[in-house]
């Protein structure tokens, strides 16, 4: 992996002047991915914050070919582009190497886009799908998605007088759903750990067939914290075990970072964001415990799958 100094000499394919919020995790993620990708890339993007804020007509922040089709079909649309590339290459009408990256938020990937993603994974298209997971339908106003953690306050799972917990359901483990497809390369990443993220991007892009990365994308608006904390929160998620950094290569699990001494308690994660504020109340102890339990259980399962020892990451 090149050093930051070497990377700083590379062309930035997301221009300045995009209108993502100050401190938006997604913009950092996209920058890091495009810096890591060494080949020319064609991108697709689902409807959502990233797409809307970067392509307000007549402006586009993309310095690389880009297509937005609809909300649930970023993967299907790009699979058409990738197929066209294979077809034209087969007919000797194209000879350059081009890589394909589909973007989607958790909305367009976990929920409405799950079917199309599953189809693309099963068909084995040669593309990387990146889910920038900000854990709610942020662009339409912070509504809950199946990626929202239990206990999160969202606009469709608000903290009320009768339902005081916020979202009652546990979040879906999409990374594992993708692994279950037999996808050759699957990884979770965080923009706070840029080396880890960029290495994974390079591995994904050099994999033959489909690859998938689920990247935690902190959202100052939706998660209710000050803009300047986005990277710190992306770091805390990893240090508290909420968002483990791992990869699955042809079914083999590997945890790519274990916090060890830097480990932080879950309560630090809860306290860092306004969307969990109500969990500090006594009446909500049950849901806080549920969240803690689910984080613990996933960690244990991951440790076992990776053949590692110890109780916590």
């Amino acid at each position: 992996m090149p050093s930051l100094k070497e990377l700083s000499k590379r062309e930035e394919r997301l221009s300045r002047g995009h209108r993502l919020c100050p401190g938006c995790g997604a913009s950092v993620i996209v920058r890091q991915i495009l810096l890591a990708a060494e080949d020319p890339v064609v991108l697709s993007c689902a409807t959502g914050c990233l797409e809307v804020a970067t392509t307000i007509y007549p402006y586009t922040a993309w310095k690389t070919p880009f297509i937005h089709c609809a909300f649930e079909n970023s993967s299907a649309t790009l699979s058409g582009v990738e197929t066209a590339y294979r077809s034209l290459k087969k007919q000797d009408k194209i000879d350059k190497t081009i890589k394909f990256i589909a973007f989607g938020g958790d909305g367009g990937t976990y929920d409405i886009g799950l079917q199309a993603l599953s189809g693309v994974l099963e068909r084995g298209h040669n593309l990387l799908y990146v889910c920038y997971d900000n854990q709610a339908y942020m662009n339409t106003g912070i509504q809950r998605s199946s990626a929202s953690p239990c206990g999160a306050a969202t606009t469709t799972s608000p903290v009320g007088k009768v339902i005081t917990e916020g979202k009652q359901e546990e979040r879906k483990d999409l990374t594992e759903i993708v692994v279950a497809h037999g996808t050759p390369y699957v990884a979770q990443a965080s923009p706070a750990f840029y080396n880890d993220l960029m290495k994974k991007v390079q591995k994904a892009l050099s994999t033959e067939g489909p690859s998938f990365m689920n990247i935690l994308s902190p959202c100052p608006r939706g998660w209710r914290y000050s803009d300047s904390q986005s990277i710190e929160i992306a770091r805390l998620a990893v240090l508290t075990g909420v968002w483990p950094l791992y990869e699955v290569e042809n079914g083999k699990y590997r945890i790519t970072y274990r916090p060890r001494k830097k480990r932080r308690p879950l309560i630090d994660w809860i306290k860092s964001q306004g969307r969990f504020k109500h969990l500090l109340r006594e009446e909500n102890k049950a849901i806080l415990d549920k969240l803690e339990r689910s984080v613990r259980q996933r960690e244990e399962k991951l440790l076992a799958l990776a053949g590692e020892k110890g109780e916590a990451l």
Binding site: L7, S8, R16, R19, C21, Y59, T60
Partner: protein, 102 residues
């Protein structure tokens, strides 16, 4: 950009000028401005890799400036700097100081 009629724009909503979003200066969004102390800076470039708006100006592997045309003042650079070389100051105050100096 003066708005064009339907006969003068590309068909199908296509945007043919790659990266022309740079015409839109997001620096006007700021309420806080990062102030960089070059003396204290250790040139680790963490602010550069974490900046959502690519507004840390790096030339020949060294940070040289902050691009105030686009910097939205989120403060990530200041938070992430390991040596506190970047401090956030109120934009209003900075502009007032600049005007005083002129």
């Amino acid at each position: 950009m003066k708005e064009k009629g339907w006969k003068d724009i590309p068909l199908g909503g296509l945007i043919l000028e790659a990266g022309n979003a740079e015409r839109y200066k997001t620096g006007s969004w700021r309420t806080f401005r990062p102030i960089w102390d070059e003396e204290v800076c250790i040139q680790c470039l963490r602010c550069w890799i974490y900046c959502p708006d690519n507004s840390i100006v790096v030339r020949e592997e060294k940070m040289v400036d902050i691009n105030y045309d686009y910097c939205k003042g989120c403060g990530i650079c200041s938070t992430e700097c390991p040596v506190e070389a970047i401090k956030m100051m109120e934009e209003g105050e900075c502009l007032a100081k600049k005007r005083e100096g002129e």
